[in-house]
Symmetry: C2
Subunit: 299 residues, 2 copies
């Protein structure tokens, strides 16, 4: 745009525990509402009420939705924009896109919350200028969004990076806490896993405590695998665990050259610090991402 008024965009970040609805002057957040994610009807109803209010003040140009998954992201599928089978009670089969479409005639974009966050960091944050980008969130769960040539990866479903099985550290017998897979990476290093695994609450444990060693190695195994498969220029790591325990990222960075063993070319500390970083947009990566989805829906 060359001057003039930015688009009036709105976004919904539908998270597993809370939902954030934002109004954007373009992709700049100018107003925000937050509420707990409860039942689908109640939660989508609350989001629609906020959008309706903003739309009455001045018509919205487009709406973006970044949702927790698993979510049908194939626009050709009959159940596009629907939550797939999930252990989250009441949400299997919940329609996310359809109620917004019924209420608003403007363009509407929808993708996973982590793809939205990746788009935000790509457009405005730590991954600007990078085509292949991974956004990881390590919090209550572990999820990953992936952009290749700047576009979100979908496919048969969408990546479920949190549930990969990785090589375990020799001698580490922690069984993991994932109800599906036990010791997949989410079952090893997301919040509930750390509470079960560490000798003290993560917040109370000294960052140099050796109990962190296998946690850092597990994260390094994930990063090595992602580097070998997606060939990313940037891996942005957000989420509560990553924000509160930045030493884990440092530990993983230190272990990576040993794991990659010279195979991917230059892999010195400076290159790894550039490649693996925190989100510039912080906790706003998700909500800003929903505005980026809105902007992209306008074509």
């Amino acid at each position: 745009m060359t001057g003039g008024t930015a688009q009036r965009l709105a976004g919904i970040e539908l998270g597993g525990t809370k939902t954030i609805v934002v109004l954007g002057d373009g992709t700049r957040i100018v107003e925000r509402r937050e509420f707990p994610t409860t039942t689908p009807d109640e939660t989508m109803g609350a989001a629609l009420a906020v959008l309706g209010e903003w739309n009455r003040a001045a018509p919205l140009d487009a709406i973006g939705i970044g949702s927790f998954g698993p979510l049908r992201v194939d626009a050709q599928a009959a159940d596009f924009g629907t939550i797939l089978a999930t252990p989250k009670r009441g949400w299997s089969g919940a329609q996310i896109l359809a109620p917004v479409r019924r209420a608003f005639a403007c363009p509407i974009g929808v993708d996973t919350d982590v793809n939205a966050a990746a788009l935000a960091e790509h457009a405005l944050g730590a991954a600007q200028g990078c085509g292949n980008v991974i956004y990881l969130t390590i919090g209550t769960g572990l999820g990953g969004g992936v952009l290749l040539d700047g576009r979100p990866v979908h496919g048969a479903m969408h990546p479920e990076i949190g549930h990969v099985r990785l090589r375990r550290v020799a001698g580490d017998a922690f069984a993991g806490v994932c109800p599906f897979h036990g010791d997949c990476i989410e079952g090893l290093i997301a919040g509930p896993a750390l509470e079960a695994r560490l000798p003290a609450h993560p917040a109370d444990l000294d960052p140099v405590d050796p109990a962190w060693d296998p946690v850092g190695m597990d994260l390094a195994e994930l990063l090595a695998q992602l580097m070998l498969t997606f060939s990313p220029q940037r891996i942005v790591i957000g989420g509560g665990v990553a924000n509160r325990q930045p030493h884990l990222i440092a530990r993983a960075r230190d272990a990576l050259p040993g794991l990659i063993a010279g195979y991917l070319g230059d892999m010195d500390a400076a290159a790894l610090s550039r490649m693996i970083c925190a989100p510039t947009l912080g906790d706003d990566a998700g909500p800003v991402g929903s505005l980026v989805l809105a902007a992209q829906a306008m074509g």
Copy 2:
């Protein structure tokens, strides 16, 4: 094209042990020459001589090159089309694209041999109609090409799927044979690994011998990981080991539902048989892929 003459295309499949040069009526191979891959000068010289001969008979419209890697595939890089550091003697830094460019003014496409094979199966073979495609070759080495939305994945380098570290089967102590990583997946299930690991030569070992069990499980771990990260609609598996030991793919398919544990939705035997399959083009996937690269270079 609606009638008329197809493009006169040529392709080079530069393999680790042999090189195949093909002439295409469009992407249909009408002539082929094969010779061993020796030094860069000798090998590229032989390929250029064949191309020159065909070009004199009638001008080539475009040329495609599918090369073993690691290869610089970033068209913006100064060393685009150059082999990167490789244990293959004499080939580190070898220019693949430059000598062809010097000799021919027509459009020239270049990518990895496995991305080329993936493009061929996508255009003409087992992955038609699928956006997200993985082409694995399991032979002397293990390599993978990846298409997302039909386009090859590049990024910081390109995927190096053969060198991921996966969860080992409990009790399996085989150390692996990869000179970089020991028991990465190439070090566990490519040809040289099987010769070191099995109690008899792979060709002489009964397909039902339990010594194959951990090999099939290792392949299943790779496929599970690829499904969770790339969300492919199709995984096409070629290469000498896969061709000669189809029971390995059957074993891996059988193990997958247990590994994925219901996480990716429908994963019954019929769905897995469709998703994981042999290349329709067989050993021609690579050479045909070089012709697809040529066609795409014409824009």
